[in-house]
């Protein structure tokens, strides 16, 4: 189901994220009349870029509840709100949730997906959307990524056999040196590189340029393209690749680049816990904020439920 079909669907719940990027409202404003209720996870970036405007726009949504991410108890508040959906909803039907991940961090995406799974389990009918950004120039030099760790404890994986080498499956991004630096830090001997292609060719070129040395060292045969606009296909490719690796390697998924790839990694890791590690590497507060605008394209990933060993569905 593509975006045009999806945006006419009806959802029990919309989970939106309010940050400083202009694209934060691109999906929510088009879905506003098709969702019974909205939960907005709020970064509280007052005064930064488009945040204030985003806050106003999302505040005008139907049946909206804001949850501040600075609140230490934000997850339990979120889950409490989700449970109230079960009470309101029709018990015989699955609960349809649209989660717009466009402005969520990989860590937040992981936590939200695990919460949805905990609360709704097999009753969940999840759809994740990702608003593709307008192209902007990548940073010219390496930016220190002084955070490098499993995305969250639940998705850190587990090493039963240290003689099995790790194998990194890296979704490439356009930050120079980030992927190769992460590989060096983890001292991973095997690698598979997933190169995104999307509506704007400039992005793909920037990705190749930023990872020139890594691609050269790993070899073209380790490079696999994936489509930003077809996350279901990406998920299936990723699943097949990772299942093939599990016999000989400890797979580590490192989702740099477009966040829709991160969703595919996180869903796969949840379904196969604790066999797969999802890694995050970030500049944290050293990063320069960018007011990313939507280019109009929306990638749609119908996940279904997040229970183990369930496959993705269209």
């Amino acid at each position: 189901m593509n975006w045009f079909q999806t945006k006419s669907s009806h959802f029990d719940l919309l989970v939106a994220v309010c940050g400083y990027e202009n694209r934060a409202t691109h999906v929510p404003t088009q879905i506003r009349n098709h969702a019974n209720a909205t939960i907005v996870l709020d970064y509280e970036s007052t005064g930064i870029h488009s945040y204030d405007e985003n806050r106003r726009t999302l505040g005008a949504m139907h049946q909206v509840n804001f949850i501040q991410l600075s609140d230490a108890a934000y997850l339990s508040k979120f889950e409490k709100r989700l449970r109230s959906e079960i009470e309101i909803g029709d018990r015989d039907k699955k609960i349809k949730v649209l989660f717009d991940i466009s402005c969520a961090s990989r860590r937040l995406i992981s936590k939200v997906l695990l919460s949805l799974d905990r609360v709704f389990q097999h009753e969940l009918e999840l759809c994740c959307t990702y608003s593709v950004s307008e192209f902007y120039n990548p940073p010219e030099d390496e930016l220190p990524s002084h955070i490098s760790e499993p995305v969250i404890g639940e998705l850190s994986g587990w090493s039963n056999d240290l003689s099995q080498p790790p194998c990194a499956v890296i979704g490439l991004g356009f930050e120079p040196g980030r992927a190769i630096g992460c590989l060096d830090y983890l001292e991973i001997p095997e690698v598979k590189l997933l190169k995104p292609h999307g509506p704007d060719e400039r992005f793909e070129k920037a990705v190749v340029k930023a990872n020139e040395q890594l691609i050269q060292e790993a070899g073209e045969s380790c490079l696999h393209p994936y489509s930003v606009m077809d996350p279901v296909d990406t998920y299936l490719k990723l699943e097949s690749m990772v299942f093939g690796l599990l016999d000989e390697f400890r797979p580590v998924l490192i989702p740099l680049g477009p966040k829709i790839f991160a969703v595919a990694c996180i869903v796969l890791a949840i379904r196969n816990a604790p066999n797969i590690c999802v890694w995050r590497t970030s500049s944290g507060k050293l990063g320069i904020p960018h007011d990313t605008k939507a280019d109009g394209n929306v990638a749609v990933f119908w996940v279904g439920s997040l229970g183990r060993n369930r496959t993705a569905q269209n």
Partner: protein
């Protein structure tokens, strides 16, 4: 497209020995001097930054590696080695998984038990692997190692596996070493379930096997094995690689064992240079370097000390590439500006001699464009045309200034601005490249691989342009690696690269733009006015190998003193790998305090805030 089978990315293998087979490691092994000391029968701690070859050295103590090693000194080493090694190679992934997966366990005691148990189970698996390796009949064919062969009949194997399972509290279904291995793996899988249980229920009961000491049961198992084998004099060496990855409490447990006098077991650890446990271990239980263990430092504070090893590595790589044979690295890489006078001595033509000496010509160029240099020459009474003829003692201050004359002539324009060219030929040449590698095999291979490939393809001397391109690529990768190391700092200095950049740019400006001096500062003293968070960051930079610890004075010992973990008072220099990046010479001399460097930067920021990048986000983030 076959997505399930990753192709061997051969270039990565060169950077990481951990997952190479024993035979693969031994095939290309070039022993540094430390290796032969490591083969001695005593506790040892191998100290070195990332990429310094610690894993390779430890793996080369294993029976299979020794058996496969082909080297002039291999027979003697096989004959002399008196222990059977148990290699435990942990990795960052395991450490992070253990840390991240168990950190939500609120009961600290239980959390510690989980972490210790994971370590012990992996160590037990390593012990079983060593036992299995020693049962390989191929070992009998290697006369130097046949004494380590273990002939275990079915009854003995049953007896051994039963005994070990009782000591380790393993529920054994099949009484064999393979059965024992499978049962330990099951315990590891269950350990993850125990973690889950403890996260959701602090009061959940942990199984008894989780309460065992992280190492003692393995030592008991080793002693029991010797009894069953009837070889009570058999010595085992527990090799723990990259101990810094293990949780802190395990490191402390292990370091206390360095004081142990078990007849059957010795320990050999590899570790980063800066590890807080060494500092924290005080009192009667603390091990002393020299007395309780042999410290072996793999860093080369002085570049000349790394040359013999670099030369061996170079020859090994040339041989492996099937290129033409070479008599000296200069044949392939040419002479360099920072070769300590080697090329001058070889050609018997002084570089200082007018009118064609290479250094003379650079000095003349600098004299023309640099007022400060002219004043310095005048003050010291040097006439460039006569310098070569001066007595050694009179000439000495000029010789000391040569590295800075070279960089100023190369990088500073007559108007006092930096020359914009990115690549410089100043750092080409065999011994300059050796210095840039820091004797670190990982950097060395990265730097030399394309050059030796070119040499084996076309022969002759590799062009300066190709050498410069390889230097640039190596620096790019090195900086990317440094940028990826997780750290915590203070204010707008949060990462190793930021700290390094501050030091590098300070030295650059001081050496190139300030008034000319024969010996401006080129090393840093970590002093007690540096904030604690920056001290920690400096420690991480030492571990990454980008800050190299230096003895106070040339020739000072590098054993006990340099192992002292207190960074305050330590003299460090920037790795020569980054010298081209900051336009610095390959030399280490006078020292300046780190707090002065930091204060100078703060003062500069107050004067000209826009000149410094403001990285910090002014709002909260997830």
């Amino acid at each position: 497209m076959n997505l399930s089978q990753p192709l061997q990315s051969r270039s990565f293998e060169a950077f990481n020995a951990r997952f190479l087979s024993a035979e693969e490691v031994s095939r290309t092994f070039i022993p540094p001097p430390h290796y032969f000391r490591l083969t001695e029968t005593n506790h040892s701690v191998l100290i070195g930054p990332r990429g310094s070859g610690k894993t390779t050295l430890l793996k080369m103590l294993q029976l299979r590696s020794l058996a496969a090693w082909n080297h002039p000194k291999a027979d003697e080493t096989r004959k002399n080695i008196a222990f059977h090694s148990i290699f435990l190679g942990t990795d960052v992934l395991w450490g992070s998984q253990l840390e991240s997966g168990s950190k939500s366990i609120s009961n600290e005691r239980k959390r510690s038990q989980i972490r210790r148990t994971s370590f012990r189970l992996h160590l037990s698996l390593s012990f079983i692997k060593s036992l299995t390796d020693a049962r390989d009949s191929n070992l009998l064919q290697e006369s130097g190692l046949s004494r380590f062969f273990i002939d275990l009949d079915e009854e003995s194997e049953t007896n051994l596996s039963r005994t070990l399972s009782e000591i380790w509290q393993v529920d054994l279904k099949v009484y064999s070493l393979a059965g024992l291995r499978a049962a330990i793996r099951t315990q590891l899988t269950r350990l993850h379930i125990v973690i889950d249980d403890l996260i959701w229920d602090e009061g959940a009961v942990v199984p008894d096997y989780v309460k065992l000491h992280p190492v003692s049961p393995v030592i008991s198992g080793i002693e029991a094995t010797n009894e069953i084998l009837g070889q009570e004099d058999r010595r085992w060496a527990v090799l723990c690689d990259e101990l810094e990855i293990a949780p802190e409490l395990i490191r402390k447990d292990l370091f206390e064992l360095l004081r142990s006098t078990s007849h059957s077991v010795i320990f050999k650890f590899s570790l980063f240079p800066h590890t807080s446990e060494l500092k924290d271990l005080k009192g009667p239980k603390s091990p002393n370097p020299g007395d309780d263990y042999q410290p072996l430092d793999l860093s080369y504070p002085y570049k000349e000390a790394a040359y013999p090893f670099c030369n061996d590595l170079f020859n090994g790589m040339v041989e492996q590439s099937s290129g033409p044979s070479v008599n000296s690295p200069e044949e392939v890489l040419g002479d360099g500006w920072f070769d300590g006078g080697r090329s001058s001595r070889r050609s018997k033509a002084s570089h200082l001699k007018a009118p064609n000496g290479q250094i003379y010509k650079r000095a003349v160029r600098l004299e023309r464009q640099d007022l400060g240099f002219r004043q310095w020459l005048k003050e010291r009474g040097f006439n460039l045309k006569d310098v070569d003829d001066l007595e050694d003692a009179v000439q000495a201050p000029f010789r000391k200034a040569i590295p800075f004359i070279l960089t100023r002539a190369e990088f500073v324009l007559p108007n006092g601005a930096y020359r914009s060219k990115k690549a410089s030929s100043l750092y080409s040449g065999a011994y300059s490249l050796f210095s840039i590698s820091e004797g670190n095999p990982r950097i060395f291979i990265n730097l030399m691989k394309p050059l030796i490939a070119e040499f084996s393809r076309v022969g002759g001397t590799i062009s300066v342009a190709k050498q410069t391109a390889s230097i640039d690529a190596t620096i790019h990768r090195y900086k990317a690696s440094l940028s990826a190391i997780p750290t915590e700092g203070r204010d707008d200095i949060q990462s190793i690269m930021q700290l390094v950049d501050i030091i590098g740019k300070f030295l650059q400006a001081d050496q190139l733009l300030e008034r000319f001096r024969a010996e401006p500062p080129s090393t840093i003293e970590v002093d007690n006015n540096v904030p604690q968070e920056i001290l920690e960051l400096a420690g991480r930079a030492v571990n990454a190998g980008v800050l190299i610890r230096m003895p106070e004075e040339r020739g000072a010992g590098i054993t006990g003193e340099i192992l002292s973990d207190d960074l305050i008072g330590t003299r460090v220099r920037l790795a020569y790998t980054l010298a081209p990046n900051y336009k610095l010479p390959l030399t280490a001399g006078r020292t300046i305090k780190l707090s002065t460097v930091l204060h100078t930067r703060i003062a500069a920021r107050i004067r000209k805030p826009e000149a410094l990048t403001q990285y910090r986000l002014p709002f909260k983030g997830d």
